[in-house]
Amino acid sequence: MSYIEVKDLTFSYNEKTNVLEAVNINIEKGEWIAVLGHNGSGKSTLAKTLVGLLEPKEGEIFIDGQILSEESAYEIRKKIGIVFQNPDNQFVGVTVRDDIAFGMENLCIPREEMLSKIDFYAKKVNMLDFLDKEPANLSGGQKQRVAIAGILAMQSDIIIFDEATSMLDPFSREELIKYIKTLHKDGLTIIMITHDINEALLADKILVMNKGKVYAFEETETIMKKKEIFTDSHLELPVSLDIANSLELSDKHKEIREKLWEYALIK
């Protein structure tokens, strides 16, 4: 059994149209998955159903062998955390310390243990010097890092990033990506919903959503070769691959094509 298994998942807000339709996904422990899709393709809805914020109409979700239900949601949320798009609307604490503690407080972790964990995880996301700062004094990128620390402190080993970089400027975005890379190296399972193809290229596998359905779910390198998947789903390929795909197939171009691929897949 895979670490995360989604079986025939269907979801709708109203009776008429399904936002998710018969979604089947298997994700292994430690994998980094990027989820791409046009606006309204069901990416964020998928993320919310995975953490039990939305209840599926049909289908089942298994996380680490345990089925997600109303009763098991509390246990499952210990394993899986989510960082949302808007940094301001998920910062619950009055200070950085309080916010990292929030999840642990809900798990009834003793205070002494919380204090040492806060220091440890704040250091991990380089926010140790900001523990007493209030959210108004933090940048968007810093708030997102605090959110990560809060999830890590709950000992979760799956983190979903629901367009977590989309409200950041390129610099903070790159910095956040740097931390996500470290998390991946540490063995965490990462599901990253994004619009940015260059971010998606960093993942092991890419899941393309189109109109509520899984349009493709393959290794990053394999999926990038199938240009039609991207054009069909109103997505763009990275510039380097666009060039590579348009080059003639002669031997003279072979070397250049290889380099363009290499560039696209630098991690």
């Binding site: 809900n106 003793p110 209030e134």
Partner: protein, 321 residues
Amino acid sequence: MKSIIIGQYIPGKGMFYKLDPRTKIVAVLFIMISVFLLQTIFQLLIALSVAIILLLIGRISLLKVLKGLKPIMILLIFTFIFQIILNREGTPLISHPMYFTIFTLIFLILAFIIWRVLAKLLRFRFTLFFLFAGSVYVILRFVDFGDALIEPFNFAIYQSGLEMSIFVVIRLLIIITLSTVLTLTTKPTDLTQGIEKLLHPLKRIGFDSESFALIISISLRYIPTIFDEANKIMLAQASRGADFSEGKLKDKLKQVISLLVPMFIIAFMRSEELANAMESRNFVPGEKRTRINELNFNYKDVLATVFSILVLAGSIVLRVI
């Protein structure tokens, strides 16, 4: 905006910062009650000097507290004047007729214009206000020529009136100072937690003090965000020709709506996202949680509590005697 310091926490060191918020809330409450029990100006003056000595020991700048008093100065002045005018008991200190003639009116208007013009030009607005009030008195008192518009009336200040007004003002002064010290030296989070812990016994009658404290602390956390947002919305609507400082009264209503609707809709979206974020981090309303901010009650708190109890006991004794 800048001068308002009531309810604002300013980081610092000193005795009061080290006290447990519960101690401070209880002590302030006790001392406030005591102040209400005191009956003579003399007792109140002693209380005021004790309060000032405490501030000095606690290394709280008097200047900051005074600045905090500024917005309520008007309230104090009005209380003072009301007490003086309304209280007509005891021996009169001053008693003489006042006149209101056509010339009085002219002089009053003149004084008013001079006051407004000077207030625009000079920086001593407060002093000017007092000068204006003084000149109103002088005009009413001495301009007795010309056709009387109303019958001359008697102006009197009675001893007990004066005493009473000084009494009330000092009492207000002490109370405001005390509450300023409380909020000045206590972090909002600590304050809410202090209140939560003090209200905890109410759980038996079904009052969920923890959720109550959480609601307060989340509100505190979002005040700057919402303030910032309101500002941006105002600018966005001003960009569409709805300048709040220009339009006519008729347009004002529409402008206010153009500010309020987006604010509410954004707040609504925010609360939904916030609820999701809290739920995904395993928050279940009403369930038991541990707390990162623990209050610790030590010997200083014992001393402070004992002190406030003594003050309360003392004033009860004074009252009974």
